[in-house]
Amino acid sequence: MVDPRLNIIDKRLAKVGKIIAVSSGKGGVGKSLIASTLALILSKSGHKVGLLDLDFTSPSTHVILGIEGMYPKEEKGIIPPVAHGLLYMSIIYYAGDAPSPLRGADVSNATIELLAITQWGSLDFLIIDMPPGMGDATLDMIRFIRDINFLVVTTSSKVAFETVRKLLWLLRDLKIPIVGVIENMKMTDSSFIRENVEKHNLSFLGSIKFDNKLEDSIGDVSKLLETEFEKSLERIISQKLKI
């Protein structure tokens, strides 16, 4: 018995240049904001970009980007609609704003299904907003997507980094490419995160200071693109990722 869905995933992603999973061991560190803003910045600089919200139980990129009233087009699978220049895919098209309580095996099945039916076409970048932790979604991405790269987000907190560190070590041990680590919501001059990332020969991409005006931009992309948060992320992308 073979699950045929697994054999179509490579084909669905064949014309995607680079796949970046924005991930963290810990929740609440700003993964969705970084994933959404990264996608917008790449799109703004002329790239063709897709954004996939893979946080099935707590999707939030649609809130950040103010996306509503859209639905994928059905054509030999499903084609994500374009929002703010991004091909945008999320479980919200099907679940609406109702809770989706999924156990691990269901998360895996939903991930396979979504990857098997979504027609991304040609993209320069596919940005994936991952759920926190290193559970089913992370393991499935590693299992199903051959050329995946991880961008790992942490806060300055030693508590957050304790968990993020485990994700980094896991990825390193599995030889999964790590684009680098971003320290988000930085409020002190501590170099704890930078030192701990660099001493393990991983790339520390930079810090983003806590931006107390960021919340006012949620749901409004033009405001989001004017925030200090966005400027810091754009600087990191151009200087460290050289995109």
Partner: protein, 132 residues
């Protein structure tokens, strides 16, 4: 799952197996589909015919839908999937991503959304017969 996506997935899998087993032609393919996927067999067969692969010219496809059973993890009540009484939007959402069932369905006995689907979910290529 979308019928066209399933047809493409089935064909990709057949080609992979044919290559591994050095089959020149396929004579029989047995597919099992969980009821929850709500696959329209006619559309699926049409999609398959449109993919027009020479290796499948003489292939006979058999297609079995497996009835879905749902079992509550809280009170262990078991019940059947009833597509008839779902609204069109919910039915379509479950068709595309069957796990969405957990968003809309609840245990009829205790009301919990925490149930499992022991049978009737997923797509399986049960067997392929071919000639070298």
């Amino acid at each position: 799952m979308h019928e066209w996506a399933l047809a493409e997935a089935v064909v990709s899998t057949i080609l992979k197996i044919a290559e591994e087993e050095e089959l020149k032609t396929i004579v029989e393919v047995k597919i099992k589909v969980g009821e929850l996927q709500q696959i329209n067999q006619e559309i699926f067969e049409f999609a398959l015919s449109q993919l027009q692969l020479p290796i499948l010219k003489n292939a006979k496809f058999s297609f079995e839908t497996v009835k879905a059973k749902l079992k509550c993890k809280v009170c262990e009540y078991q019940w059947s999937f009833d597509a008839e009484n779902l609204g069109e939007d919910v039915s379509e959402a479950i068709h595309f991503i069957p796990e969405i069932a957990h968003t809309y369905l609840k245990c009829p006995k205790c009301g919990s959304p925490d149930f499992e689907i022991p049978v009737g979910r997923g797509v399986w290529l049960e067997s392929i017969k071919g000639a070298k």
